[in-house]
């Protein structure tokens, strides 16, 4: 299955925050297995998703990204036993800032991604990209 965007493609720009030990290897594996997803997806790795500032997520949207995806450690986090709850709280805080600025909550997604979750990652990216495209289309119709 090809998730590739065509030349001159205007697929939504997505910034993925990954984690060095868990989700980033999963994203690496997606590439190693040539599981294609839109080239407008870019990744930035951090040690732990609980260390993300809500303002960074919003800054990405302010700067021109159409969507932000947090590929969190979930239950596998080696640092923090409550990582999933902490990351969910960060997402909630970011969505509150987004709401104040009129940015739809659908532009921010979070999912736990394991170190071998190659197929789920490629699927998440295709689905998120499609959802953001629908969001833009409905906004332009309105």
């Amino acid at each position: 299955m090809s998730g590739a965007a065509g030349p001159g493609d205007s697929s939504p720009r997505i910034l993925v925050f990954s984690t060095i030990n868990i989700s980033d290897p999963g994203i690496d594996l997606a590439g190693s297995r040539h599981l294609e997803y839109p080239a407008t997806v870019q990744t930035m790795a951090v040690p732990c998703s609980s260390g993300l500032k809500p303002s960074w997520l919003v800054h990405a949207l302010d700067s021109g990204f159409d969507g932000v995806f947090v590929a969190s450690d979930g239950e596998e986090c080696a640092y923090l036993p409550d990582c999933a709850e902490r990351t969910a709280h960060i997402i909630s805080q970011a969505q509150a800032i987004m709401a104040e600025r009129g940015i739809p909550a659908q532009r921010l997604k979070m999912a736990a991604l394991c170190s071998v979750c190659a197929e789920p990652f490629a699927n998440y990216m295709r689905e998120f990209s499609a959802a953001l495209t629908r969001l833009d289309e409905s906004a332009s119709v309105a």
Binding site: E36, A39, P47, P54, W56, G64, E76, Y79, L80, G102
Partner: protein, 600 residues
């Protein structure tokens, strides 16, 4: 041993404006054709050459080749570079390679940034050359932005003590202690029970080689007695730990004659090998509580003690046995979802033992799936050839066990392999093949700050690449305290922890990543919000210029950054991922072609 740095103001974006412009070298790798077949590497190089701070922009065929490494060193020295960006494969492959390049050229290794344009670009977008090229430009620009704002950092050097504490005196801990002594590291074993040996020390014949577990453990204990560099404490517990990696002070409480004695000692590393508990069925679970229904450990003890010529249960001769597999393992969500891994083979092996005690005993194995993997498959084959009957039941149709009014037990099961017919088998004994459950980890979590997974077992950093290390530097886990496993697998993990301890302690010093949290004392108001956010107690409150502020101990900080978003004053930065670096990288990533307009 390190002490917390005196607080220093953290540079922010504006603070860099007065600094001289950086001199950064950028190398975009072709990786043969792995990258350049799908990314226009020359276009990326061209796009980067005029970026602020970039003075070298090259596109080698293989960045990791010896020749290119020498070229990089020549560039760094000859052109006085103070930053290095390599855009090639995943940092998991060559981060160490290029950090060494920086070190050989006397460039601060933390002024180097790896950008992944292979696994996360060229290989993921083989049919979108222009898209992959545009993406690569953004990724490399982000790497340059992070490098431009990087601070020179040095690894934290800590002196190490050549002594290791082994928590747990089962077979894994005992074998690890001998391994430590073999490589010249003193070992101290602390065992909570009154005797050494753990589970295996109670076993007779064990798979795969029929060797007696008790005899194997006795051999290890005998060997330990000969060694001057191994000390064992039974009836003792680890009750405290202080200090930093490489030189921990541990507190052992020795329970002696109704009173406790406390012993302190210095250790460089700690190996946790505390084993497992057996699953204990609820009353009524598969008939547990009915006379003649026993668990696997109870059955194993019975078989090990059985004299040749007969197996008895409470004075009655056992003529038939039903084994019900997967009790307490592979449960539905919310229960023990994992497979306990050892119990299929342990049961098959015990049933073969029964065959040697009395070959006329009829044996029925009621299973969901038989997981006698690897060479253990041969035991499964031997069991069938010896006359055991295997009956497969569906996950959602477990067998039921009832007492017969005439004595004995009736096991009712729907056999998937004979047209799903319901069978009722009359037997004298039912063995519930119970799996492993984690021991209560709360005490060790409190003392060592070890992370625990959702299944209750301790978590390693990475299940494949760092399988015995934990996020607590110098603290390793080994054996069934990590997850269910066999004796051989547990001992292997113990010896891996020995190798890891040797790697940490034999040099006499260790280097820690300096990518830790740092508090900006100017911004910190001493609210204390961050203090409780760190499960490793790396943050404390100190006095600074007449007021209380937070301070991070760099040797204790794990570098997760969990305290960063907690601070309402933005006073904490994670080095290598500072607020200024993250914002600049985000902006550079998206600054290609499309305008920077806020989305709505």
């Amino acid at each position: 041993m390190t002490t917390p740095d005196s607080p220093e103001p953290v540079a922010d974006a504006s603070a860099t404006s007065g600094k001289p412009e950086r001199r950064i070298g950028v190398y975009i790798c072709h990786c043969g054709g792995n990258i350049s077949d799908y990314v226009d590497v020359e276009a990326v190089r061209e796009a980067l050459k005029d970026e602020p701070g970039v003075v070298v922009s090259e596109s080698p065929v293989f960045a990791c080749s010896d020749g290119t490494q020498h070229d990089m060193i020549d560039d760094i020295r000859g052109r006085n570079l103070d930053g290095l960006v390599v855009a090639s494969c995943s940092p998991k492959l060559h981060q160490v390679t290029f950090r060494n390049v920086a070190k050989r050229a006397d460039l601060n290794q933390y002024a180097y940034t790896q950008v992944n344009v292979r696994e996360q670009d060229s290989w993921a977008h083989p049919h979108d050359r222009s898209g992959a090229t545009e993406k690569a430009i953004g990724l490399v620009r982000a790497g340059v932005a992070k490098t431009r704002l990087s601070d020179p950092l040095e690894p934290l050097v800590v002196q190490t003590v050549p002594r290791a504490l082994v928590v747990g005196g089962g077979i894994t801990g005992l074998r690890a202690a001998i391994g430590l002594a073999d490589v010249g590291i003193q070992a101290v074993v602390v065992e909570r029970a009154a005797t050494l040996g753990g589970w295996v020390g109670t076993f007779g014949a064990t798979f795969p080689d029929d060797a007696s577990g008790a005899e194997e453990v006795a051999g290890l204990v005998e060997e330990i007695r000969k060694r001057r560099d191994i000390t064992t404490y039974t009836g003792a517990e680890l009750t405290g730990k202080s200090g930093s990696f490489g030189n921990y002070t541990v507190e052992l409480t020795l329970h002696r004659d109704g009173s406790d004695k406390v012993l302190s000692l210095e250790v460089g590393s700690i190996i946790v090998a505390t084993g497992f508990d057996a699953y204990s069925p609820d009353d009524g679970e598969f008939g547990y509580g009915i006379d003649g229904v026993v668990t696997l450990p109870e059955f194993k003890a019975m078989v090990d003690a059985a004299p040749s010529g007969g197996l008895t249960w409470r004075g009655r001769q056992v003529r038939s046995i039903a084994y019900v597999y997967c009790v307490g393992s592979r449960q539905e969500a919310g229960g023990n979802e994992y497979c306990s891994k050892y119990c299929c083979t342990a049961t098959i092996h015990a049933s073969l033992q029964v065959g040697t005690v009395d070959p006329s005993i009829r044996q029925y194995h009621l299973y969901r799936d038989i997981r006698a993997y690897g060479r253990n498959e041969l035991l499964y084959n031997a069991s069938r050839e010896a006359g055991s009957t295997y009956v497969k039941f569906a996950d959602d149709q477990p067998p039921s066990v009832a007492a017969l009014p005439t004595g004995g037990l009736a096991v009712t099961v729907t056999d998937l392999l004979t047209e799903s017919r319901e069978l009722t088998i009359g037997v004298d004994l039912v063995v519930l093949v119970t799996g492993m459950v984690p021991r209560d980890p709360s005490r060790l979590v409190e003392v060592l700050k070890l992370p625990v997974g959702s299944d209750g077992f301790f978590n390693e950093i990475h299940p494949k690449l760092r399988p015995v290390e934990t996020v607590v530097d110098g603290v390793m886990i080994a054996g069934c305290c990590q997850s269910p496993r066999t004796v051989g697998e547990s001992v292997s993990a113990g010896l891996a922890a020995v190798a890891q301890s040797a790697a940490l302690l034999k040099k006499g010093f260790a280097e820690l990543e300096p990518l830790v949290a740092r508090v900006n004392p100017e911004k910190c108001t001493g609210s204390g919000e961050c203090l409780s956010s760190c499960p490793y107690d790396a943050i404390t409150s100190i006095e600074w210029e007449g007021r209380s502020i937070a301070s991070v101990d760099p040797a204790t900080c794990k570098g997760c950054g969990g305290c960063v978003p907690v601070c309402g004053r933005d006073a904490i930065d994670l080095l290598g991922y500072t607020d200024a670096q993250m914002r600049a990288a985000i902006e550079e990533m998206v600054a290609t072609e499309r305008p920077k307009e806020p989305v709505a």
